[in-house]
Every structure is written in C-alpha cells, then in structure tokens.
C-alpha cells in the first residue's frame, strides 16, 4: 500500500457487497436525474416536433412583395420565409382506395406544394427516386405514401381529385411520381401529408410566410396571433389564408375562440404536480437517501476508523480514506447511470410508450449536469456522517458505543406496545433510543411513499380534471357531438342517424358561434377575454320550450315567459368545474363573466336575421364575424338582458359564455320555419352495447364531414393518459425501489452493528422465536410510522402545494383540488408493511446465521 488513502480502495475491494449496494443506490439516483435532464434538454429542442405531433400547429399565409419579403425574413421569430405557393387538393379517389388515416373524424387536407427548383427541395431527404424535372412530375412525402391503403411507388401516376375549390392548372392531369421524400418537421407543409411539384413557369409567384407558434398550446395563442397581427399591420401584409393543425381536446377551445384563459387547468395541474414530484424527488435523493447510505457505510467502519485514530490518524486522514471509497463508487455509478439511462429511455419511451417524437439522444449538457449532480450529492452526503464521526470518542468508536451520551432516559411504559409482549416493548425502546437508525429508515420510506402518493394523486387529478373538462364541454352526454359547418341539412342528417340501431336518442341544437366586435368584452384578472380579432366570442344558443323549462329551474324564473317577446338570458359559465367543488365563498370569483352587464342592460350582437340570411345563402356563420369585422358590414341589434344565470349549459363547447334566446321568438318573427337556418349540431346518445364506432365514423365523415366527437376526445385523452400512467407507474416503482434499497442498506448495517446485542439476548434466554418476533416488531414499527407520517404529511402538504401553485399561476388553479388518493395510501401502506415483513425475515435470517458464542467473545 503506497499511501494510506489506498485503504479506501481496499474497503471497496474487500467489502464488495456493501460497495455494490452503494453503487446500485447511487446509480439509480444519478440515472433518474440523467433521464430527466436529457429529456428536458431534448424536449426543448423538440418543441416544434411536439407541436407537429400533437396537431397544435398554426400557419398564416400572406401575399408579400419582394421588399416585404426581405424585411420579414429577418424577423427572429419567423421560422421560414420563402417564395412559394400552394394549393389544396384531395387524393380521395386515388386508385379507388380510401386512405386509411382518413378515418379520423376531422377533415384531412392534402396539399400539393409548388416550388421552384431550389435548395429547399433538394435539401429534403430523398428516400427513393429523384427531384422533379418538369411540372408534371411530383414528389410524395413519406406520410402521403403511407396514408394510402395501396402504397404508390416511384413511376406510378396519380390523378388528383379536387374538392370543389377553385384550383389551378392541373385539373384532370396526372402526375408521375418521381421520388419519395422525408420532410423535416419544421416546415408548414409537413403538418399535412404533402406532395411537392415544380411551379409552372407561367404562374405568378406569391410569397408565403409561415409563422410558427412561439408558445405552447392555448397559452400562446393570443400572444402569437397578436404578434402576427402587429407584423401584418406594420408591413401592410395581405393575409391569404390561415391553417391550424388537427384539433385535440387541449387546443379545441383555443382554436375556435382563441381564448387563452380557458381549459388549461387540468393540464397545468398535471404539469404542476409532475414538476413538483420531480423537484421533491431530486431533493429526496440528494438529502435523505444518499446521506443515509453513507451514514450506514460509515457506521460499518466506525471501529476501523477509531482504531486508525488510536494509532495516530486524525480526522483529515479518515476523511480522505472515506472519500476515496465514496468517490470511487460515485464514479462507477455515474458511468453506469449514463448507460442505464439511455437503455431505460430507449425501452420505456420508444418501445413501451412509443413516444418517438421525444429525442433521447446523448446530450453533453445533460452529461455534464449529471456529473455535477452526482459528485455534488456525494460531497454533500458524506459531510454529515463525517461530522458525526468527529463527535465520537476513539474509545467509544472502538467499543462501538456511539449511542450518544446525551440521551436522557425518561420513564415510559411503552404504551400500546405492552399489549404485544416483551419483544414489542423492546422493539419500541430500541426505536425510541436509537433514533438515528430509526429516523433514517422512516424518512427513506415515508418520503418514498409520499412521492408515490403525490404522483398517484397527480395522475388522478389530471384524470379528474380532464374528465371534468370533457364531460363539461359535452354536456355529460355519452354521445357523438358534431358541428355541421358546411352541410346545413339537418333533416338529412337526422334521418340518417335515426336509422342507426345503436343511437338511442338524438337532440338537435340551435344557435351560432359569433364574434361581435362591438360588444364590450369581459375582463378576468386584467386580461380581456377576446379572440384574435379582438372580439368576445358568444355562443348564441336558441332554445326550444323544453330546454327553457330546464333553464327555468336553474335560474328560478320562468325563462319561457321572460323570452316570449325577445331579449336574452346571459349565462356566465364557470372557469372551474364541477361547480360543487368550488367553495361557496369563491363561486363569484370563479365565474368567467361573459359581460359586465346587469339585468335590463342592452347587449349588442350580430343581427340574427342577418345570420339566418347568410345561412340561407350558403355562407358559413362560423366565420361570419371575421368577415364582418373586416368589411364592417355586419348588421347588429340590441338585446335586452332579461336574466343572468350562472353555471353550465349542456352541449357542445358549452363552457363558452352563452347568450340564450327563444326559438319560439324567431319562428314568430320570421313568420316561417327557420329551424334549418338556426340548426347548429346534433347530440347523439349512443347505445354502447351495439355501437360500431368505425362504421359511424366512416359514414359520418363521408356524408357530413362532422368535426368533433366525444370519442375523439376520449381517444385523445386515453392516448395522453396512457403515457402519464406508464411514466407515473415507472417513476413510482423507481422511487419505491430507491427507498427499499436505502432500507436494505440500513438493515444490513443495523444487523451487523447489533450482532453482539442479539447474541447477548440469546444468551440471557431469548429464544429464536422471540428474537424473530422482536425483529418483526421493529420493522413493523418502522413501516407503520412511515405510513402514518406519509398520511399526515400528504394530508398537510397538499393544501399548501395547491396554494403555492395557485399563487404562482394566479388564475390557473384557484379552486382546483388535488384529491388525497386514499386507495393508493391504503395500498401503499399494505405494500410497505409486506416489504418490511420481508426485510424482517432477511434480518432474522442474518441473525440466525450468527454464531452466538463468537459474538459474545468479540470485543465490539
């Protein structure tokens, strides 16, 4: 041995079992940190890919002059500005086969993207074939190829079938597929399955600019659109067209109304809880587990180190010897954690969760951060055990009397433990007087359990909130809900649906979504609730007699009578739901007030007769308001507010502020049946037993182009939550393993240190059975205490956690609740007890293996 420091290496070499436990524990904590950091860093880089995958993508097309183009391409937040033009096209007739993924309820739009032969086309990854050489050759993106039942290949001809839009030069012509390309995700055209062809020489080149959302989902919508509008007005741009990606439950409101304060509660709760879990987890790993591991390690060497001190070593020497071993274990575990981290990410994310959009590649930043984390944690973790060692006298260390002489013994009668006999009393006293070991074990277990509970509670909260969102928006119907935008033919739809045996009930709804610019918009916490055109959205709902009767019960007034001569009832919907979860004293604050209006005030809305006329002329009222704002032609009328109601309205997107009018009034006013013109959507109640989703989806899609369904929501939610559940379960199991590793580590040390005590007890007459009972009680005491603390802290902490997040997020979680997951608490407790019983068996086995006589003779 060339240096005394090499003693640390010897400990590593000759106490392999202990070293393996330490390495395994450090490995798990570093590995988890590495996974989190890698995913976080890669996710930041993957933002656009995520947006593309989730369908939360928007683009606006402007017509630009060359000068405007030169100006705008320098805007930092504009992702691409290039000369090109595009046209809309559908391949639905290709070879008589329907693309498989057209089965999705939303309308899929295929595009042919025309471009000049330039670097951008050549820069696409060519999977097969070559770039187009003339206007009649076409490149298909991989996604287009994959969307067909029978995949087209290079050399095939495709003949596009147009969908009624005014299209250009290629009508009736066939393209030859010259190549198949893989598009990079950053371009707008990749949002949809896309084909690329060369632009014809005689075509005037417009310029297209795509803006990418800078912020995420609903939160960024308003900001992003406002930004676009500012650029638009400052440069005098002319908007050609705008597109949004496929809508999912989390974006549907923002896409329709661009309200950014709605419906993010569930998502934010989820993110908040997950972030909190991760935060607590990292603190937990750093502060409790690693410290506990090294404490146990030092206790193991207490006698050796004391002897070293007896022969002349000082605390500095001991520190170096101990550090060499600890840092060696840290180094090994660090490299293993990097390898294990990549393996876990690959298996969990790619193979199990199928999250191919999230990059799990090597990140130098993550590598370095994990390196710092690992060594910093170990450095901090070994301080406390070394401080503890300093306080122990050499003699006590050699005798392993490190109980702490300052303990004051109070007379106690062991309480309920007396009921279980001498063994239980002894276990109780041991726990009470050997607090260090006991509290380490309890801390490890209880924190593990708390994190598991909060995690489980978080997932449960996400599920609850999202379910509430879903149910609320759809009026608690187990139904398809669809909005018919283009084909206003309610009778046709109705009779079609009535023929389906799996539809139990049908209900027509009437009304409009309108965006009047001239009505004063409400404010919530200083933010004006408006859409991109600075208009408050209004859900104009036209109720029949039966619906008004229902409403009468809610508002305590006869709604039929109130609305018999016109006027309206305003319904201020709630920001947080279900309503019964909102404390009584906060109901007022939880309302999203449609307008700051009182009864008998006037509300200016688009004139209904004009809307009806527009319907009759085949225009789409959904986009009516946009047009009316642009050309100022929208006629308006004032409605007298007859009553103000609060709460929810059953039906599609019913959490929009709603204005209710009587259908009866319109029938009278127009002196004719305006039912068709007022028709908005149909709610269907399905018979789950006979329901054939595929059949209905296909038929509705082909016949009516329906837009949203409850099942779509469910599909999206399940897809989202499957990921949460698997990831949550993984993290929970992971944390639990960490906790158990820590306990096993403690137990091994505890049994080692107490071997003489066990021998003494056996010598004075304790049988093996009694020893087993005592050890079982000790472990049970740890398990039960950890369980109790977990219940107590979880119960106590959930309220402050919510309060903190409410404060930080201000509007987000005012009244949300994070339910205490009693079932997880119960189950976790039972699992905990079972694990402790298993650990007790292990300790008993160790004690059984002990040679009583040699332990009694030993000096320590």
């Amino acid at each position: 041995m060339r240096s005394y420091k090499q003693l640390g290496l010897k400990y590593f070499k000759y106490q392999r079992k202990r070293a393996y436990i330490i390495i395994a524990s450090l490995l798990l904590s570093s590995c988890f940190f590495y996974i989190m950091i890698t995913l976080l860093i890669n996710t930041l880089g993957d933002k656009y890919r995520y947006e593309k995958e989730s369908g939360d993508y928007d683009a606006i097309f402007y017509e630009l002059s060359d000068a405007q183009y030169d100006t705008i391409k320098n805007y930092a937040t504009i992702s691409s500005a290039k000369k090109a033009y595009e046209d809309e096209i559908c391949f639905t007739g290709f070879r008589g086969a329907t693309p498989e993924n057209m089965g999705y309820i939303s309308r899929e739009i295929r595009h042919i993207y025309l471009d000049t032969m330039n670097d951008s086309i050549l820069s696409y990854e060519m999977i097969e074939g070559r770039a187009p050489e003339n206007e009649r050759e076409i490149l298909l993106s991989e996604s287009v190829v994959n969307s067909f039942e029978k995949k087209p290949s290079v050399g095939d001809k495709i003949k596009p079938i147009l969908e009624g839009e005014d299209s250009s030069y290629y009508e009736g012509e066939a393209f030859t597929i010259c190549g198949i390309i893989k598009l990079d995700y950053e371009t707008y055209i990749n949002t949809y399955p896309t084909a690329i062809s060369l632009a014809p020489k005689d075509m005037k080149l417009d310029t297209y600019v795509s803006f990418k959302k800078k912020f995420t989902i609903a939160e960024g919508c308003l900001t992003w659109y406002n930004y676009c509008k500012k650029i638009e007005s400052s440069l005098g741009l002319k908007e050609i067209e705008r597109y949004g990606g496929r809508m999912n439950p989390f974006t549907i409101n923002s896409t329709l109304g661009f309200f950014y304060l709605q419906d993010r509660e569930g998502l934010i709760t989820a993110l908040a809880v997950i972030c909190l879990d991760i935060f607590i987890l990292i603190i937990y790993i750093a502060s409790v587990m690693v410290r506990s591991i090294f404490s146990a390690n030092l206790v193991d060497k207490l006698k050796d180190f004391s002897m070293l001190k007896a022969i002349g070593a000082d605390n500095r020497h001991i520190k170096k010897i101990f550090s060499v071993e600890c840092y060696l274990e840290c180094t090994i575990s660090f490299f293993l954690s990097i390898a294990l981290g990549h393996l876990i990410m690959s298996v969990l994310l790619k193979d199990i969760l199928k999250l191919n959009t999230i990059s799990t590649g090597f990140s130098l930043a993550a590598f370095l951060l994990t390196l710092v984390f690992s060594f910093a944690t170990v450095t901090i973790a070994i301080i406390e055990p070394l401080m503890f060692f300093k306080k122990i006298s050499v003699v006590d260390g050699i005798r392993s009397h490190y109980m702490g002489k300052e303990i004051k013994i109070k007379k106690d009668n062991a309480g309920l433990f007396k009921l279980f006999g001498t063994e239980a009393i002894y276990a109780y006293k041991n726990a009470k007087r050997n607090r260090r070991g006991f509290s380490n074990a309890v801390a490890s277990l209880s924190i593990s359990l708390i994190i598991v509970i909060i995690l489980a509670g978080g997932i449960k909260a996400i599920g609850k909130q999202s379910s509430n969102d879903l149910i609320y928006q759809n009026g608690n119907y187990n139904s398809y809900v669809f909005s018919d935008i283009k084909l206003k033919n309610p009778d046709n739809i109705y009779s079609f649906l009535r023929s389906k045996p799996y539809i139990k009930r049908l209900q027509r709804t009437y009304g409009f979504d309108a965006f009047p610019s001239y009505t004063k918009a409400p404010k919530v916490d200083g933010e004006t609730l408006m859409n991109v055109n600075d208009c408050p959205i209004i859900n104009l709902k036209i109720c029949d007699e039966a619906e008004l009767n229902d409403l009468s019960q809610c508002i305590g007034k006869d709604a039929n009578k109130l609305l018999s001569d016109g006027g309206c009832i305003l319904v201020n919907t709630r920001m947080v739901y279900p309503e019964e979860d909102v404390p009584e004293d906060k109901r007022e604050a939880s309302l999203v007030k449609t307008f700051d209006l009182k009864e008998n005030d006037k509300l200016t809305i688009p004139r209904i007769s004009f809307l009806v006329e527009m319907e009759q002329s085949g225009n789409d009222t959904f986009f009516f308001s946009n047009e009316s704002i642009k050309n100022g032609s929208a006629p308006k009328e004032d409605l007298t507010i007859k009553a103000i109601a609060e709460g929810k309205i059953n039906g599609f997107l019913s959490n929009f502020p709603t204005v209710i009018m009587s259908k009866h009034f319109f029938d009278d006013q127009y002196d004719k049946d305006v039912t068709d013109m007022l028709f908005k959507s149909i709610i269907m109640e399905l018979d789950d037993n006979n329901f054939n989703e595929d059949e209905l989806s296909t038929e509705l899609l082909s016949k009516f182009g329906c837009q949203f369904s409850w099942l779509d929501y469910n599909y999206e939610l399940n897809r989202e939550f499957r990921g949460y559940r698997i990831a949550g379960t993984f993290v929970a199991i992971y944390i639990f393993i960490l906790g158990i590793m820590s306990i096993v580590n403690n137990m091994v040390t505890d049994t080692f240190v107490r071997r003489k005590e066990f021998a003494s007890l056996r010598a004075i007459g304790m049988s093996k059975k009694q020893l087993n009972k005592m050890l079982t009680f000790e472990k049970l005491e740890i398990g039960l205490t950890a369980w109790f603390i977990a219940i107590l802290l979880t119960t106590l902490f959930i309220a402050p956690i919510l309060y903190i997040y409410n404060t930080i997020l201000e509007n987000g979680l005012l009244f949300s609740t994070l339910p205490i997951p009693w079932s997880v608490l119960l189950l976790g407790g039972i699992v905990l007890i079972l694990i402790m019983l298993i650990l007790a068996r292990l300790a008993i086995k160790k004690a059984d293996e002990m040679d009583i006589t040699s332990e009694l003779r030993s000096e320590a």
């Binding site: 006590d396 009397h401 109980m403 002489k405 303990i407 013994i409 007379k411 006999g421 001498t422 009393i425 002894y426 006293k429 041991n430 007087r433 050997n434 003489k756 005590e757 021998a759 003494s760 007890l761 056996r762 010598a763 004075i764 007459g765 304790m766 049988s767 093996k768 059975k769 009694q770 009583i852 006589t853 009694l856 003779r857 030993s858 000096e859």
Partner: protein, 224 residues
Amino acid sequence: MNIISVRNLSKIYNKGENEVKAVDDISFDIEKGEHIAVIGTSGSGKSTLLHLLGGLDKPTEGKVIIDGEDITCFKDEKLSRIRRRKIGFVFQSYNLIPVLTVRENIEMPVLLDGLKPDKAHIDELIEVLGLSDRENHLPSQLSGGQQQRVSIARALANKPSIILADEPTGNLDKQNGIEVCKLLKTTADHYEQTLVIITHDLSIANMADRVLRISDGKLLEQKG
C-alpha cells in the same frame, strides 16, 4: 446432589487436518450450591466449556445434564427456557443491551419469560450491587465495574440455580475485579446458587470450593 453433570463432553471445530479439539472428552459433576472455578491458559477451552454448560453451543459428543435433564438434545425453545430460568450468564465484556437502562437490562430475562419482575428482588439486587443511583442510566453511561455489576444483577434477576461467569474480571482492574468476585460469591451464597466461574486469576480461583484445570480441552485436575 448434582445439579450439573458433564459426561464425555467434546467440542471439535473443523475437520481433517484443521481439526481443533476445544473440549476433549471431559466428564465431571457439580453439586448444588457448589462454587467452581475453571482455570487454564488462553485457548485451553474454558469458555467453550462454559458455553456448552449454558447451552449456548452444541457439543460434538457427550452430555450436559442439568437438574437431571440432558440439555444437549433440547430444541431452541426449551434451551432458551432453561437459560432464562436456571442459568444466569456473566460475561467478560458485560454484553449489556445498549438501548436499555440498568433496570431494564436487569429485568429483561424475567420479561422474556413472560413474568412480571419481582420488584422487591430487583430493588434488592440494585441495592446490593450498588447501582441505586445508576438504575436509569444506559450502559454507555457506566464505568466497566458498574457495567459488570449490572451484568451480575441481570444474571441473578430470575433467581437461577446456576451462575456461569466467563472471566467476569477480565476487563476490570484488580480492585474492581476482587470486588465483583466477592459480590458474585456473596450473592450466590445468599441465593443458594451454584457458581461456575472461569478465570486465569489464581487468587480468584482460590475463593472457589473446587478448581478445575483445563489444558488443550482436557480436564487435567480437580482440586478442592
């Protein structure tokens, strides 16, 4: 009347070339109330003999008969009961339970037997052994002599008929050692107990009724 009878007792560790005969075919009897000292050099097999007498270790051959019962064939439960009720151990390194106070350590064998400690008896032991002002202290808060006195009190707590003491003065200075032995002898006389004491201190051995000399596991002579 013999309270302990040892017949052809052997304890062999390891097999073959490494075989060590810690106790080699020993036979002797001890009468009730007799005080016996076992002497011998280090490694002669004294402690092994004591552990075999107390049922802490199983012999390779032979019998240990206590009160007419051969304890070598007893199972753990019965053996533990014998240790609790009939035998009290005193060890060189005290072997007290670190988390229990002086009184709790003394009461432990009684409690393990499922009985209520005889308070008057325990108080008397504490008083006799001079531990009155230390009864609520932990072992780590006591001196070596005090710890050994606690160990003696614990051995006497169940009023056993046999006290087996394994070099009880080994960790003590001369004066404390003699004091402890006197206490052992006095209390053993007081409670009419058989005392088997292992020592290499001849002055202590001479206090016994009979001395057994052991060498290389064999019983060389019995004097007394």
